[in-house]
């Protein structure tokens, strides 16, 4: 058992996009704020802060998760991926990101990081995901610009391209 007192900051250490990171947080600090304000990884956006909008969606231990509904101190020892971890190398987009660009699947970009994280997690776990399945996963995100059509098109194309890549590998 470990008890962290409310009025002090505590060391939090986890794997973020493949590297070990650490910072200090009070128990009440949300993971979304820890990522942005302590670790200065501002790719994860913060919208509603009660789990509805999906903007802050990240991957925790392989599962989609709202960063605003988790505490930084809960993450000690976890494996986390954020949108900064999607590009294979700096300057090159992932298959999914490239499809988003091709299909104009974003306008203001506020919801994009969260949507990319959900879709990336889905396509890793279920390479055969069809449009119905993608729609189901997208229902956990709000986008006020696109009307979702372009996002859907991008995701369907990315799924197809990823399947092709796997076949040729």
């Amino acid at each position: 058992m470990r008890r962290l007192s409310a009025d002090e900051t505590h060391v939090v250490r986890f794997r973020l996009n493949g590297e070990t990171v650490e910072g200090r947080a009070e128990p009440r600090m949300l993971l979304s704020d820890f990522l942005r304000h302590v670790l200065a990884r501002t790719g994860t956006h913060v919208g509603c802060e009660h789990g509805v909008c999906g903007a802050c969606t990240i991957r925790i231990n392989g599962m989609m998760a709202r960063a605003c509904m988790s505490l930084a101190v809960q993450m000690d020892g976890a494996e986390i991926t954020t949108v900064e971890g999607l590009a294979p190398v700096p300057g090159r987009l992932s298959v999914l990101q490239a499809a988003f660009r091709r299909h104009h699947a974003l306008q203001c970009g506020f919801c994009t990081a969260g949507i990319l994280m959900s879709l990336d997690t889905l396509l890793q776990a279920e390479p055969g995901a069809d449009e119905a399945r993608i729609r189901d996963v997208l229902s956990g995100h709000l986008c006020r610009c696109t009307g979702y059509r372009q996002i859907l098109d991008a995701a369907v194309e990315a799924a197809r391209n990823l399947r092709k890549e796997t076949r040729h590998a």
Binding site: M1, R2, R3, P27, R28, M64, M69, L71, D76, D136
Partner: protein, 275 residues
């Protein structure tokens, strides 16, 4: 939209969690998947001074069969039900209801027991638990007790669980062959809170319908010898017996109408499953 200060306790066993709860009393809350509690804390509707994180505790992460019942321990996330391969054979109603819970992003964090503890009147899991004759296993210090789901939900977000108790597990009986079940829900958007949700269980000549989203807790109606000829009348009587109210999302009249129409569809689907 940030939680008020609290001490954070990460426990290694549920027994430890029960001890900390016993010492802290009504100022402590158990944090599992956090998909209800964290939102409440962000909005300061909940301001615990001690938060007990049980998600690193030892124990099952998957549902398991214990003495002819499917037992779901406190650390089992909702998504673990989706990936439990035999769920559709073991407890088909659970398999039918789970996709309606929130979104995949919240199911991957939220736990089954956490949803039961939160006891939202429109939540799917309390409804299924009541419809199937489930039980809630509670732990206070070293003492354990089991409460039938029907007696567990007392009101809107109000349960029989004491402030110093935690839910160790819930269980439901395995569904015997020849039983038909169905689940239906109407909400404004996919993943939104249900305006009305219906769970039906048909076994031989008996029909059960459990309704969520109308009263403060799930409501159950049981009928013998319900036929296509008398189902409409039975559902009408049932709809009027409920405490349907007007709110921002729907009128009382619309809710009663949903009970009648959705109820009939759900019962029909359950009967078709049973045949």
């Amino acid at each position: 939209m940030k939680p008020a200060p609290f001490d954070y306790v990460r426990v290694d066993t549920l027994a430890e969690a029960a001890d900390v709860l016993a010492q802290s009393g009504d100022n402590a809350r158990v944090l599992a998947g956090g998909q209800s509690l964290m939102a409440m804390m962000n909005m300061r509707l909940a301001q615990p001074t001690v938060v007990i994180d049980i998600m690193h505790a030892q124990g099952p992460r998957q549902p398991e069969i214990v003495r002819n019942r499917l037992r779901i321990s406190a650390m089992v996330r909702q998504e673990a039900l989706c990936t439990h391969a035999r769920l559709a054979q073991e407890v088909p109603l659970l398999a039918q209801a789970v996709p309606w819970i929130g979104h995949i992003q919240t199911r991957m964090r939220g736990t089954v027991c956490g949803s039961v503890a939160h006891a939202d009147p429109s939540a799917e899991l309390p409804l299924v638990l009541v419809a199937l004759g489930g039980q809630v296993h509670l732990k206070r210090g070293r003492k354990n007790r089991a409460v039938p789901a029907r007696d567990f939900f007392l009101g809107m977000m109000l349960t029989d669980k004491g402030d110093d108790e935690l839910i160790e597990a819930v269980d439901v009986p395995l569904t015997p062959p020849g039983t038909g079940t169905a689940f239906r829900e109407v909400g404004r958007r996919k993943g939104d809170f249900a305006i009305v949700s219906c769970a039906a269980v048909v076994r031989g000549a008996t029909t059960r319908l459990a309704v969520g989203g109308v009263n403060d807790t799930p409501v159950v109606a049981d009928w013998k010898d319900l036929t296509p000829d008398n189902v409409a009348e039975a559902l009408n009587t049932f709809a009027w017996s409920l405490d349907a109210r007007d709110d921002l999302h729907a009128t009382a009249r619309y809710r009663r109408d949903l009970v009648r129409r959705l109820g009939e569809i759900t019962i029909r689907e359950a009967r078709e499953c049973a045949d």
